[in-house]
């Protein structure tokens, strides 16, 4: 393979990885937008999404097989179920803490993350669960570049979900309410916007997107386990910060940038794949230190 081939191959890998990051990062950013909370449990919703998608797929695979249509059905099921879970978490754990000091709500979010992880750990015994989707490995050759159909479907699905979200936020009434709440919650309340419902809708969508990513990741990589949300949660947060937290296009952009950075970063001599995670956390720290508002974020004053 020539150098150029390696680059284009990494471009494809980076796009796939970036799609996952972007989908999870969107939830981070939306939830941060409406209630200014870093939902530490968000990566775990991705993990739960993977497991619920697996359960859905197992239930229907005897009827419709394990190809992409079945995965899509499982994905929709998972999105709805995990979306509801997200709303429940918000109601039970975060709503009572909104007036509490910031440290308390952060720790609460951490506790929720631990509850989800350990619940799944208890249920699965901590084993890797093979995700039996039957996707095949076919693909097309463009020159010396090989692209799997799976990769194309995956990136395409992620793109459709993101375009859908963008339309929802920019065109619908709830989307407008969501943007208004992220600017000034109290004012929205006074203007007759049903803020709790808007927050619930935001949690539902954010969690559903994470679940979609979780199911697709399970189908694509072929296995799921209880701890898989931890690292991607961190990475997605990094992506959200790179793009500018609170900004929806920023999260998409940040996800893609981080995915590409990782894919290309592993090609730099001396970094290699075992330093991949160190590389992205390094990027996270550098961005936070030098440009905390990210690429598309707006500057904000913290009120403690």
């Amino acid at each position: 393979m020539t150098f150029l081939d390696i680059l284009t191959q990494q471009l494809v890998n980076g796009l796939v990885l970036g799609s996952f990051y972007a989908l999870v990062a969107l939830g981070y950013t939306m939830i941060f937008g409406v209630i200014k909370l870093l939902n530490f449990a968000h990566g775990d919703l991705y993990m739960v999404g993977g497991f619920v998608g697996f359960i859905g797929l197992s239930a229907i695979s005897s009827v419709v097989g394990g190809d992409w249509p079945a995965v899509f059905i499982a994905m929709l099921f998972s999105m709805i179920a995990v979306g509801c879970l997200g709303v429940v978490i918000q109601r039970v754990a975060y709503q009572p803490m909104l007036a509490a000091p910031r440290l308390s709500i952060l720790i609460t979010a951490l506790a929720v993350s631990l509850v989800l992880q350990n619940a799944v750990l208890g249920l699965t015994g901590g084993q890797y669960q093979p995700f039996r989707a039957d996707l095949g490995f076919g693909g097309i050759n463009i020159g010396s570049l090989f692209i799997q159909y799976n990769q194309m479907v995956l990136v395409g699905t992620a793109a459709v979900l993101m375009i859908g979200l963008e339309l929802f936020v920019s065109r619908t009434q709830y989307g407008r309410a969501m943007r208004a709440v992220s600017i000034d919650k109290d004012m929205c309340q006074l203007m007759g916007i049903n803020v709790p419902v808007v927050i619930a809708v935001t949690f539902f969508i954010g969690s559903a997107l994470a679940a979609a990513a979780g199911t697709m990741a399970g189908a694509y990589y072929g296995s799921i386990w209880y701890f898989m949300g931890f690292l991607i949660g961190l990475k997605a947060f990094t992506a959200a910060v790179i793009g500018g937290i609170g900004s929806i296009p920023g999260a998409m952009l940040g996800g893609l940038i981080l995915g590409l950075l990782e894919a290309f970063g592993t090609q730099i001599p001396g970094i290699g794949s075992e330093w991949k995670d160190v590389f992205s956390f390094g990027v996270l720290i550098l961005v936070l230190v030098f440009k905390p508002t990210g690429l598309l974020g707006r500057p904000e004053q913290e009120r403690m």
Partner: protein
Amino acid sequence: MGEKSVVAARLFGPLAGLMENRPARWTATAALLVLMAVAPMIFGSYATVILTNALLYVVLALGLNVVVGYAGLLDLGYAAFFAVGAYTIGVLTLDFGLNFWMSLPFAVLAAAIAGVIIGGPTLGLRSDYLAIVTLGFGEIVRFSARNLEITGKASGLSGIQQPSIFGYEIASSLDFYYTFCILAIIAVIVSFRLANSRLGRAWLYVRHDEDAAEAMGIDRVRVKLAAYVIGAIYGAIGGAFFAVNLGAISPESFSFTQSVLILMAVILGGMGKIPGVILGAFIVILGPELLRDLGPLRLLVFAVGLLLIMLFRPSGIWPGRSAAK
């Protein structure tokens, strides 16, 4: 909330009252010290090992308490400092032939430098960004330990020499139990002195109102950095003794779960309050031992407990005279 605190006051009131009464407090402390001294004879050798671990957690939790409880900074990567201490001892004794006591100052120094490196550029950040940065830092340290040749890669370091003091080798589990007793007592005393120092009052001020503190002439970043470095030193000392106690260390001892367990110890008992933190450390170590029958579910019980505490008793189990606001 009001009703809950009344119930809590009834439950814990006598205990808290006891602690505020000076002679009673001295008596209680003396009783506790005697109990510490005779515990290995009463509970047997298995319990001694567990108690040693609990005392290590007392040291670590008191260190993290300086950062989280005193200065109000959420640190999710505290295990990094613990790792820096342990690995410094491991590398210096194994590869450079220094003995434990000669390496200890280097471990402390390395942790202090690590504290400055991570704290310096980030302490001006918003609190939730800081939490994530510390998490990322913790992971970077663990990944580095796993990838570097000098730290023994994934298998870690083993065969770390046990220290001797005045010709007496600290070797048996009983020796280590008493060593950790002494460490924990020193950590408690230092923590008390810190809380009542000028720096301690500055932390309190910064924690409650950063802007007002700054207006009063407190250098916010410097005070926070001090908390970071002091917390790091506690962690490094804990890590150093942890390394010689076990004789072997591996990257997985310093995972995110480790950071979370230490944080739990700080929060369960009551952030910022020394008796609470000690109690928390014991709960975190002894709890899973008592719940051993539950298998992997015991951590779930813990996580739910943490969540319930945050929702219903955010200032911890141990009632403080002034509940943290």
